[in-house]
Symmetry: C2
Subunit: 350 residues, 2 copies
């Protein structure tokens, strides 16, 4: 029998909080019956919701606060002016050992700033990264960074590669994930200097993952690699462009199937097939952006998601705790240190 695991929740973050937070908890408990939750937020709003749910009060504790980080707030303001926000307190619960991980659907910038300040980075990691997983023609793919670091150097890329590889191994369960660096061409001479330098080191170093080399934008959803490493600017644009194209397809498909009486009729028959397609790309299935490289598990849920999406973000956090994501990262970096691979600014030759 496994021991109970506690997740801290910023119960006030997201467009539909705290309602979907409570509903998400109920859903995830069906899959993970040993998990307990601490809800940080407004007791007046939370208490009635917890009381209403069946047995909810048995595995949910409320920690009251009336400070909340809004979506419009600058990260620096959240950091300086709101030491007791529901987001800050949930992160502190991880630092203090009261919870094994934290999930928030609130302000991403504030979550990253607070998590960095409170939890600090893991040994060997210069800068944390935001990662997510995406569908592909082969299997799910991890991509990072998605916006935490607009500019990256060679060391950042190497650290992202290792973190992505560990995520693919321990959370997605791939035995030998393959890493690719996102670039504008596959040839060794293409792209920014720091990308070519990172590729050269990844090619030669005895890293735990297999390095494919450079990949291009179209390779991401073809599933050419399992881990896509890029800087936060490019990753953010690529991810949002992919989301935009996905929305565009949904739009033109629905437009086409409403364009005539005949196409409306054909839709009635095609409906179940189209539903299968929609399920495969359901953004709720891919909800949960991981803040990797911190001394604690931190997962960001999409702000506009529903209970099912929030439950999936909770599931990601639970998996990362259960499969020892951070411990594996620490071990990988210790091994590399022994092998004297220059991966951080401190150990890199001047």
């Amino acid at each position: 029998m496994s021991t109970a695991l506690t997740i801290a929740l910023d119960a006030m973050g997201g467009d539909r909080a705290p309602g979907i937070v409570i509903e998400g908890i109920k859903l995830v408990r069906e899959r993970s019956p040993n998990v307990c939750f601490i809800l940080f937020g407004d007791e007046k709003q939370l208490q009635p919701l917890v009381v209403k749910g069946p047995q909810l009060s048995e595995y949910v504790k409320i920690h009251h606060t009336d400070e909340f980080v809004t979506n419009e707030m600058k990260p620096s303001a959240a950091l300086r002016n709101l030491p007791n926000s529901s987001m800050a307190l949930a992160i502190k619960a991880v630092r203090n050992g009261e919870a094994a991980g934290v999930v928030s659907a609130g302000n991403t910038g504030a979550l990253m700033a607070l998590a960095k300040f409170v939890l600090k980075t893991l040994p060997g990691i210069d800068r944390p990264a935001i990662a997510t997983f995406l569908p592909s023609m082969r299997r799910d793919v991890v991509m990072l960074d998605l916006g935490a670091n607009l500019e990256c150097d060679t060391n950042n890329f190497l650290q992202f590669a290792i973190m992505g590889e560990v995520f693919a191994k321990v959370v997605l369960g791939l035995p030998e994930p393959v890493v690719g660096l996102l670039n504008v061409g596959e040839e060794e001479l293409k792209g920014h200097g720091y990308l070519r330098e990172a590729a050269a080191i990844l090619r030669e170093a005895d890293l735990p993952s297999k390095f494919h080399g450079f990949i291009e934008g179209n390779d991401i959803l073809e599933g050419k690699v399992d881990v896509v490493v890029t800087d936060g600017f490019t990753g953010n644009v690529a991810l949002k462009t992919a989301e935009g194209v996905s929305k565009f397809y949904t739009h033109i498909l629905s437009e086409a199937f409403r364009s005539s009486l005949f196409s409306r009729l054909s839709y009635l028959l095609a409906r179940s097939t189209l539903r299968k397609v929609r399920q495969r790309v359901d953004p709720r299935r891919y909800n949960g952006a991981m803040l990797l490289g911190l001394n604690g598990i931190v997962v960001k849920s999409h702000g506009g998601t529903d209970a099912l999406g929030f439950a999936n973000a909770l599931g990601v956090a639970i998996d990362m705790v259960t499969f020892g994501f951070n411990d594996t990262i620490i071990q990988e970096f210790k091994k590399l240190e022994v092998d004297n691979v220059p991966l951080t600014k401190e150990t890199a030759p001047a």
Copy 2:
């Protein structure tokens, strides 16, 4: 009656040259009966194809050469070692006034290098850019740069904005195109410093286009703006990611409609509707990347396209010549010079 217009063709560029070049010419003549062509390439291969076509020899001239730029060739090698390649000679025909524009389905890097060297940039333009148009939920969108300039400064962005706006006006026929700068957020304080600087100038300068501000990746196919301005690295990744997602959708739709007997049957009815969707995103409709900012019209066709796609690339070149794309660019920059807007390195304050 309009006078004849001549387009120079690199008849040996692309995976299926010279066959699709000839077929493309035939198709485009149906739309533009006044256009003549000079084919640069191997006479032995070209002559039989021209003789076979009905009246083809009336509007097609062959200029023999046996030097060809391959896809694997480095741009510098094409520039230095092959002064008489079919690509180089076709570009020189534009410089010498024998042709009004050039189209090639060959090596993009070599085409850009040769075109820059032979044609030089337009007055006011520091660096040419690669542009294309894309479908969106509203109407077609122009995006640039797509890979000519991996790193861009503020002036480059301003010049791209003007070139994109002129393209949207004179080729897509939009009366008042709106320009957006691709970034990781819409707020003024987001993103790289040079992006914020470019946005500040675009906001205040009395430019011919309307400036929307920053847009994000998902806004591209939503059609939030008519012209998407970005650096060549980001633009290349965004475009290829979009292509990848598009391919992914085609793949999962076809997989779903083959997954059971019932879905196969429903496909029979849905086929005409799905064909409409496919037509709307047909890459051949969007074939033709424009090398903007050069002293001559240069269009790159996709290397793997067919006759219809090649004809569309020809159509883009013909439209750019017919609607005076380059003359409009020159006029816009002259106007700005009078208004003393700092747009090039020469006129920018130190």
